[in-house]
């Protein structure tokens, strides 16, 4: 277990700072400089310059650490941001799906409406070809009235014809009767004459 973690540590360290050009080298230089400064027998000016140099290296290290911390913070915040955007987009996707389903239903409804409208139009076209009901009714009424008038006239004419027939009948029958009476008279005259003449002849 210790070996594994050591490996991990070594791998991580190599990854971050493999060539030794950055912080690791600075810390090593600082340590070496510190030990040398502690043990150096040189003049105080040299010691002071050494000391300044070491402070400079320390400041650089602190600066670099501060930068890394800030970058880490920034990454965390970016992650949060991305999470937010991700959930937002997911919500949009689901709402778009819902809208699509709604629109499909709308389309079905609209198609049904259009079909009904077209059926209505087709029927209306046929109906328009037939004449208006009011007009036909009016025509019917006018025809009725004409019919009634004509039948009345016919009745009148019939009545007149009957009357004339009867009158002619009366006239003809009176003429017949007169003819009969005249014939009878003639006959009775003739009879009287014929009775008288044999009576006369007989005497």
């Amino acid at each position: 277990m210790g070996a594994v973690t050591d490996d991990e540590v070594i791998r991580k360290r190599l990854l971050i700072d493999g060539d030794g050009a950055g912080d690791d080298r600075r810390i090593n230089v600082l340590l070496k400089g510190f030990t040398k400064w502690c043990n150096s027998p040189g003049t105080p000016e040299e010691g002071f310059t050494q000391y300044q140099r070491m402070m400079g290296i320390l400041a650089q290290c602190e600066f670099s650490m501060g930068k890394t911390l800030m970058v880490y913070d920034m990454n965390l915040r970016e992650m949060e941001n991305y999470e937010k955007i991700y959930t937002n987009i997911e919500q949009n996707i689901t709402s778009a799906h819902d809208k699509i389903a709604e629109c499909k239903k709308e389309i079905q409804r609209a198609k049904r409406i259009r079909k009904n409208r077209q059926e209505y139009d087709a029927l209306a076209k046929v109906i328009q070809q037939h004449p208006d009901r009011h007009e036909t009714l009016k025509q019917l009424e006018a025809l009725d009235k004409e019919l009634q008038q004509l039948s009345r006239i016919k009745e009148n004419v019939d009545a007149k014809l009957e009357l004339r027939k009867k009158q002619f009948h009366v006239l003809l029958s009176t003429i017949q009767e007169l003819q009969q009476t005249l014939e009878n008279d003639d006959k009775s005259d003739n009879d009287e004459n014929s009775h008288e003449s044999p009576a006369q002849n007989g005497e």
């Binding site: 079905q108 198609k111 049904r112 259009r114 079909k115 077209q118 059926e119 139009d121 087709a122 029927l123 076209k125 046929v126």
Partner: protein, 323 residues
């Protein structure tokens, strides 16, 4: 099947399985082929999925009509009707459940059966064919209930009007007869060719396609395809399509029609032709919409070719099955 036979093949009828995943098609050699729609529409479909999963000879003559009920496939050919079970066909077991033939008066020639329709009210099968009559077969008891006589020439197409329990039949004599399904009497007889707006004397007076929507009826053939209002028995719109239409159907707010000419016509109820979508066969005989399944909602057309075109979107041909 040699290349010459494939060249001369005509697909006359189609029917979707009740689950909506298979398509059965009948051709002029008396064969029925079952295609797997779900395999052909899946994302990993290959060229092999456009071939039938099962082909068998069902009748001696051409299979002019196919019809699916809840679990059976009915096929008509050479004067007889055979019933196959869909579940058995999917398992590739080709044994018909029963084969019946009505009592034809003349036993010399066997009239073909041109068209079948199901009357769901009393679970009976209505079919018409070359003997000028419309026969009604009771599917529950398997007996022939009645014969509707009246046409003077053979019957091309039958359709059932659900709401009013009526049967419509159109024939070669140019008459569309409306029969009452309970009494068997001919209630109306419409002679389409006598109406000037529909008649096309250069093609003849025969009626080859008939479909009804309970209030409306589409009929065509020799006369132009026309939409009729059945209550008033008057033609409301005439569609200006060249060629004789062989099958039509109502779909949502449109009318789909196929016939002579290598195109599926989309028309509006008002009488205008909205679109004509080209297809592979030169002339089309049959059109079928898959209403049994929601995920495989396709339109398939077949005609004088061994290819059956499949449309997933009505506006263009997606792919073709081939025998």
């Amino acid at each position: 099947m040699g290349p010459v036979e494939l060249l001369h093949m005509s697909v006359f009828s189609q029917s979707f399985s009740p689950c909506g995943r298979f398509l059965a098609a009948g051709n002029n050699y008396g064969e029925i082929a079952v295609f797997s729609l779900s395999a052909a529409l899946s994302p990993d479909a290959t060229a092999l999925s456009q071939k039938p999963v099962l082909t068998f000879t069902a009748h001696e003559g051409p299979v002019f009509s196919l019809l699916s009920t809840d679990c059976h496939l009915l096929s008509a050919g050479n004067g007889e009707i055979s019933c196959w079970s869909w579940s058995e066909l999917i398992k590739k077991n080709v044994k018909p459940l029963w084969t019946k033939r009505p009592n034809y008066k003349s036993s010399l020639e066997i009239p073909e059966i041109n068209s079948m329709a199901i009357n769901s009210r009393d679970n009976s099968l209505v079919f018409g064919g070359g003997d000028n009559n419309v026969h009604v077969l009771d599917l529950e008891h398997g007996v022939f209930k009645s014969v509707l006589q009246g046409h003077s020439d053979y019957v091309h197409c039958v359709s059932v009007r659900d709401r009013e329990a009526e049967i419509l039949s159109g024939g070669e004599d140019g008459a569309v007869r409306v029969w009452d399904s309970r009494t068997g009497q001919c209630v109306h007889c419409i002679e389409v060719h006598k109406y000037e707006s529909c008649a096309r004397p250069q093609y003849g007076k025969w009626i080859s396609c008939l479909t009804t929507d309970s209030d409306w009826m589409l009929c065509g053939g020799g006369p132009s395809l026309s939409l009729w209002h059945l209550r008033s028995l008057s033609p409301t719109s005439v569609f200006p399509l060249t060629g004789c239409q062989r099958q039509t159907t109502f779909y949502q707010d449109m009318i789909l029609a196929v016939g002579e000419g290598p195109a599926v016509s989309h028309c509006l109820l008002g009488g205008e032709v909205k679109a004509q979508i080209p297809c592979t066969p030169q002339s089309l005989n049959t059109l079928q919409l898959n209403t049994n399944s929601t995920e495989h909602r396709v339109l398939t057309v077949g005609g004088s070719s061994d290819h059956i075109d499949v449309f997933t979107n009505l506006s263009y041909r997606t792919f073709s099955f081939s025998f």
